[in-house]
Symmetry: C2
Subunit: 369 residues, 2 copies
Amino acid sequence: MPIREFFVIPARSYLKITKFVENLWISYMGKRHVSLKDMASELGVSISTVSRALKNHPDISPELSARIQKLAIERNYSPNPLAMGLLRQQTKMIGIIVPDIVTHFFASIIAGIESVAAEKGYYIVIASSNESYQKEVESVKNLLKTRVEGLIVCLSQETKEFGHFESLINNEMPLVFFDRICESLETPSVTVDGVEAVRNIIRHFKENGCKRIAYISGPSYLNISKNRKEGYLKGLKESGLKFYPEMLVQCDLSAKDATLATRKLLNSQAKPDAIFGINDTVAFAAMKEIKKHGLKIPDDIALIGFTDEFHSTVVDPALTSVTHPTIQMGEESARLFFKWIEIGTSFTERVVLPTELVIRESSVKSTPS
Amino acid sequence: MPIREFFVIPARSYLKITKFVENLWISYMGKRHVSLKDMASELGVSISTVSRALKNHPDISPELSARIQKLAIERNYSPNPLAMGLLRQQTKMIGIIVPDIVTHFFASIIAGIESVAAEKGYYIVIASSNESYQKEVESVKNLLKTRVEGLIVCLSQETKEFGHFESLINNEMPLVFFDRICESLETPSVTVDGVEAVRNIIRHFKENGCKRIAYISGPSYLNISKNRKEGYLKGLKESGLKFYPEMLVQCDLSAKDATLATRKLLNSQAKPDAIFGINDTVAFAAMKEIKKHGLKIPDDIALIGFTDEFHSTVVDPALTSVTHPTIQMGEESARLFFKWIEIGTSFTERVVLPTELVIRESSVKSTPS
DNA sequence: AAGCTTTCCGCAAAGCTTTGCGTTAATAAA
DNA sequence: TTTATTAACGCAAAGCTTTGCGGAAAGCTT
């Protein structure tokens, strides 16, 4: 092994020299990040040697390897992910598009995705569509610009067109939907069994003597709206209850519109004796509005929502609700994503997770009529 | 301009040829991303020409520029951020560390940060410390490995040592704290005026006839605990109220421990007639526990929390609370971050935002004693 | 016609890694 | 002693951009 003195600088020009010294200073001060080149010049070996030494390549003598590895630890070396990304053509980033980030439901799904992603050494980049189709399309574009390797998305409530996703599929880019999915696209997805969930709700309502059950739905083209409506009709039939068309109201997924929808129900000729809402926002808006009308929950009107654990217990009365396995939904989504990455091609696997009807105060009437 | 036929392939080897054809196919199919090289070979010009044409460099003839720009649009070209990052030595990524991501408070601060970051063309990478010092240290390391350009962080409740941040500061890496900050470190930060907030609380309690005001605090070394305690003592004094040491209890920031702390207060010889909790979790846990003890809010015990808008209105009774300007906190944090980036060096600017005491039902006694 | 400007592009380096292949020097074999 | 091995590295290209500088061709001046 040729022993080179430390000060033997491979000087080609003055510029090179100052550059060399600068690099030295930088690595010594710990400023920014150390590169293979920094360590190579410090040790007087080539970059490739350093690279190989770090992975114990047999071509490098054990002594030199040891020296290099020691220095790498001292200097706190870690490979530059940009360089690696350029080389391997992968960014290790996965894009997530959610209607919003502050809702507990989405935040907790994101947490689920993140945990699986972290295991695989992937990072997540989050974009929020704000329930807007426009912003969703933009988000797709922006995420593609950042070179995410694929997308995990929950549709905005406005989305009826899917051109911005079709091109992804043509490009064989991993794409997983969750909760609000696009049924016409052949991609993996994670949803909950809305039909079954609502059938349970109806059954529970029936057991508590409810006869006039209202459903505050969302935009009709959303799969979650459709599912739950199906469960609604099926459930009513099974329980031998009548379906009153005026008890099926629709709203966009905002609190404001949900309040209006509830008001409509409460102002109708024959009030409902039970209501369930399609999601958190709707359920809480309904609760507020019912209270505002001076009606008691659950005795006047029983209420059930699709919500998460935390919110349901904090309100009064505690809300009976269909809880989503949010963390698991996130994990499953990530799992499907990585499956796509691994097999390298598109596939269709629709994961449907069960929900649980957690019965609390808001639906248990004290005097079943 | 030399007119080269399209099929004049600069063939050096068979490999090159297949590579060339493959690139062609790729760009035509729209698969993956088009590079300058792809377009250059398609047009028979050099890469640098394409690069310059795209930014209307005067060296390139207008006609050629137009042709190139047209192709770029057709092929949906966008510069590879990895290559740019490598060249400019910047990743356009900012790391965020929060105690958890599902709490509305943090989620909404993150949203604030994101909006400002997006404007500047930056992306955010989120890591969650789960209130654990260990995980916080790890998060710092991991984020550094991803080459984020700096960090915006809210300390975990366990964090008493700051070695993992000091090294960042030595490296002149942008670092901004929010909410739970490190007072001994010279960095920009964003907090709320806890002292003032609590003084308002006490004043309000006093006006409602409360005399025995309890405070459920957090870990004593956290700045938010200290602030609020200061406000507590100051407020009591101002209002001429007595300070009862047993009315100042402490808990970690978990719901479980907050429940225990509340129970302790309720089981004490002389119960408090007012309680305020240091944050959301604590406030809601206290509310539940008070109800469980069969006590009425606000008449038996008035309650005030530090929470966000949404939660406060949904509970019953609606919770009087100190609302944080969360979105603004996020935006300010981001602003400080970019200020650091721009001036290129460390500075100390402690932004203290005002809070607002939103009075609702939980603190207004019907029969002021 | 010879020399000088422009105009318009291409070359190459830098930023960081990985890796196939070539290159030394030394050791083993003949 | 000469040739064949082997051990231990270094070179260079690729992945994508940007940009200073060099260069060829065309136009212009006397």
